[in-house]
Every structure is written in C-alpha cells, then in structure tokens.
C-alpha cells in the first residue's frame, strides 16, 4: 500500500488492532490464549474464554478471511457518508474483525465470501501534529 508521502511521520493506527512497524508498514495484531486457543483483539489480563492466568500471546494475523455477516447501512450518524457495507469478517487464524467492504455489489455478498483486508489512509484524516492515519477495509478476494 502507499501511505502518505511524508515518510518522516509514521502513520497512526485508526483502529486498536493495527500496529505500525518501524518500517512504516501496518499489520494486524491478534492475541491467542496458550491454554485454550481462543483468539481476541486485545491483550487481556487473563483469558476471557477459559480464565487461564497467562496473558494471551500476540501474533500477526493473516489478512485473508471469510464474510460471516453484514448489513448495507443506509442511515448512519450525521455527516457519515452512506450507503456502505458493514461486515463481520473471520480472518484466517481465528481473529474476527468488523470492517467496511468496498467493491462488492450487495447481491454478491454471502456468508463465506472470501475477503482480503486492505490497509488505507482512514479517509485522509490527520492528527493535530499532521501525522496521517492508517485504517483498513475489506475487498473481495482477487480485487486489488
């Protein structure tokens, strides 16, 4: 992906699951319980599935996954552009994320549809210091 041209400033994650490497490249971090294998989006104090007192271990999530459910959103909060497809996506490896699907017709959407996570510039937003943000969305597998 292409981030903003100002490489001096590393992009800020627009979602808590996004990490930005020292090279400026973003990736998705997930956490897996060493005792029961449950996968979660955050580093909890103990496993929320089995209660094991060992913190879940971080791993770099694959960026391919399958559509679990979705809704075409026609009315959102004031100022939010509609319509868009809100989706729940099960990534390979066990992490589930909510995200927007771009580039798919509503009629094309079905449970199990293979999707790819693509990083983006989070709508071009900048923080107070002028640093860009990095976000993500999903596209059908095979799309750019």
């Amino acid at each position: 992906m292409t981030l903003a041209s100002d490489t001096a400033m590393l992009p800020k994650p627009a979602s808590s699951v996004i990490r930005v490497g020292a090279d400026g490249k973003p990736f998705i971090e997930a956490f897996r319980c060493g005792a029961c294998g449950a996968v979660v989006t955050e580093q909890t104090l103990a496993c929320r599935a089995c209660g094991a007192r060992q913190a879940p271990e971080a791993y770099r999530s694959p960026e391919m996954g399958a559509l679990w459910t979705w809704s075409v959103v026609h009315r959102s909060y004031p100022g939010i552009e509609v319509p868009f497809v809100s989706a729940i996506v099960d990534l390979d490896g066990g992490l589930t994320l909510k995200g927007t699907v771009i580039g798919a017709e509503p009629g094309q959407l079905h449970q199990g549809l293979r999707l790819r996570l693509v990083f983006d510039d989070a709508g071009g937003a900048r923080n107070k210091e002028g640093a860009p943000y990095v976000g993500f969305h999903f596209v059908p597998e095979g799309d750019a």
Partner: protein
C-alpha cells in the same frame, strides 16, 4: 425462603417529556406503583432505581426528594437496556434475603435523541471506516446470520413490526398507536438492511415502577391482585468466539431463559404471554428461539403462523413492544413486567390475553446483560 410478590405496578404513558426531569418522571411512576399497592413511601424498606444514562446522577435520591426522604437505602442501577430488570431483580434478592418486607423498584429514561450506539474515540470516527457501530447495523447483522442460516426473509422480519404496531393500537400508554401494513413497513426508510425505520424501536422518554413484598406482607395486604415472581434470572454475556467484535444477543439470552425455566419448574409451553426485547424486528425472531418459544431456525415460521399475535398460541409483545410502545432504556425492563402484571390481573383492557396465568418478561442490554422474569397470578 419466602416467595416474593409484586403488589403494585404501573407506568406513565411513554412519549416525549421535554419539560420534565428524569427524577420527576420516575417519581410519578413510583407514586403510581405505590398507589396501586395501597402503600406509602414510609412502608418501603429500600429503593432500587434504574436508568442507563442517569444512574450516575443519583436518580433514586432524586425520586425520594420528590416523594419523601425517608432515609432508606437507595441503589442506582445502570445495566444498559437490562437496567430495569436488574433493579427489579436486586429488589427481589433483597426480599429473598429477608432484609426487607417491601421494596420499590423504579426505572426511568430520557433517551438521548437520534440513533444510539458508537463509542467516542480518538482519531477519525470509526463509523463508516470500520463498518457501523450503530444499533440498527448491529441488529441487522445479527438478523442476517439468521437469514443466511435459515432463509429467514425481510418480509418475516417486517411482520414483527406489523404485529407489534397492531398490538400497540390497543395500548393507551404506547407512543405509536397506528396500524402499519406490511407494504408500509417495507416501504419506510431503509436504515440498515434488512431493517427499515418502522422495524426500529421508538426512542422515547418514560418511567415505570413496581412494588415487591415478602410473602408475609403480601398475605397481610391480600392476594387478590398479587403476582408471584416464580423466577428471576440475570446473566452477563459468556465467551463466544466473535464477541464482542460481533454482539452476541443469543447466548446471553438463552442461558438466562434456561435458568429462569429451571428456577420456576416451568417450560415455554406453560407461558400464556411473553414481553421480549424487540429493540429491532430482527431481535424478536432471534428471541423466539432463545426463549424456547419455537425450535432453532423456526422463528420465521412462528411469526408467519400468527402464534405470537394476540389470540394466538403464545402472544408476544401485546403491549406493542419496544417497536411501538417505546423504549426508554432504563424503564423498559420494569415496564415489561408492568404489562405482564396487568394481564395476570385481567386488567389489560382491549389487549387482554384471556385467562393469562403465567407470563415471561425479557430484556437484553447491549454489552451485554439479560434479565428474564417469570410471573404467575397469585
């Protein structure tokens, strides 16, 4: 342990009250419930007051400042849309423990305007960038899982709104009292597919109150209009692989239902009516199955059969439900029980479920919490 009875139950008409405070609305409902019980605030041992958005403002103490500062323990409860059921359950627990003979539970809300949901965040708003956190989208996505798995149609979801709006025409305290035929429901503004505007709950103000007493006190007062609490269950959401990225409305409800049926020694086949949490039309179909009113996957067929309409096998949301009676968050769980009580007393007027002996009240709070209460005519 002593059984617990509801001897007073009432609610204000749901609607918009721009000139009144939540404390004033709750105080009115509290007095109505006390009058219904034939009791005064000096007879009450404790107050549990629920409000999802106003509990932190000492809403219960505001009530006491309106109706009598007797110095009793006052607990303010916030548990999302399950706040009201949580207040009633805590009142039930306190009487079960033998600490009080009479406890007041009151729920109130002046809802924020507009669409609910979506946490404040740093950085760009996640809405639209990362799907939608709005409540309609969340319950649309839950409905689409059912649609994909069982072939449930938008028409079946829409029929829930047709039914509940029909029921509300017989409830003078409902905010919307107008028939909405299927084509009108389907043709209203699409909010988040498959939910149109008429398939989303009515965002209004309201308050409701109940008076709970011990068995000893109930017998003193006379049992002619008393209602016995056969079961009180409250759950938080158990671990499910997609939760909380995807809200899980189902397991938190089905576990509470199972606990309540076990506590009561009853099953869904014993119920005469149900008030369940139809925050969105999709949710009602899911909860038919979560509460065991039909088998898994049969929710769409159940609405089609007419079984859940007044006059059917198991009428659901004869009050009009959250869709048309209205959904003042912290009052909803108490109001659902007020509705059941009116039917068990035979005082529900045009929408009376004939011969009703046992009813179930259910609410679901986002985040999540479920309250299930089973009530029986004493």
């Amino acid at each position: 342990m002593s059984d617990v009875y509801i001897v007073g139950a009432d609610m204000i008409a749901f609607g918009r009250y721009p000139d009144r405070t939540p404390g004033q609305l709750a105080a009115e409902a509290a007095l109505m419930a006390l009058d219904d019980a034939g009791l005064a605030i000096r007879d009450i041992g404790a107050l549990y007051a629920s409000s999802s958005f106003n509990a932190a403002s000492m809403i219960g103490q505001q009530v006491l400042k309106q109706i009598g500062q007797t110095g009793i323990p006052c607990v303010n409860v916030s548990n999302a849309c399950a706040s009201g059921a949580t207040a009633v359950r805590e009142a039930w627990v306190a009487i079960k423990a033998g600490i009080y003979d009479a406890v007041l539970a009151v729920g109130v809300e002046k809802n924020p305007r507009g669409m609910l949901g979506g946490p404040p965040t740093e950085g760009p708003s996640p809405e639209g960038l990362f799907g939608s956190a709005s409540m309609p989208a969340v319950f649309a996505e839950a409905g689409m899982v059912h649609a994909e798995k069982y072939g449930t149609t938008i028409e079946q979801f829409a029929q829930v709104a047709v039914k509940n709006h029909h029921h509300a025409t017989m409830n003078p305290k409902a905010v919307y009292r107008k028939e909405t035929p299927l084509d009108e429901v389907l043709g209203s503004e699409m909010i988040a597919y498959p939910l149109t505007k008429l398939m989303c709950s009515a965002n209004v103000d309201g308050a409701a109150g109940v008076v709970l007493v011990s068995e000893k006190k109930a017998k003193e007062l006379g049992l002619s209009r008393a209602v016995r609490i056969r079961a009180s269950a409250l759950t938080s959401d158990p671990y499910e692989p997609r939760n909380p990225v995807m809200f899980d409305a189902n397991s938190v409800t089905s576990i509470a239902a199972k606990q309540a049926y076990e506590m009561a020694g009853l099953g869904p086949e014993d119920l005469d009516l149900v008030e369940l949490h139809d925050c969105f039309a999709t949710a009602e179909i899911l909860h038919y199955e979560n509460l065991g009113l039909c088998t898994e996957g049969e929710g769409g067929s159940l609405i089609d059969s007419g079984a859940t309409t007044l006059g059917g096998r198991i009428p659901v949301n004869v009050s009009g439900g959250l869709l048309s009676k209205g959904h003042p968050i912290g009052a909803t769980g108490v109001a659902n029980m007020v509705e059941i009580v009116e039917h068990l007393r035979g005082e529900a007027g045009a929408r009376q479920v004939e011969g009703a002996k046992i009813g179930l009240a259910h609410v679901l709070g986002f985040g999540a919490a479920t309250g299930v209460h089973i009530l029986e005519k004493a």
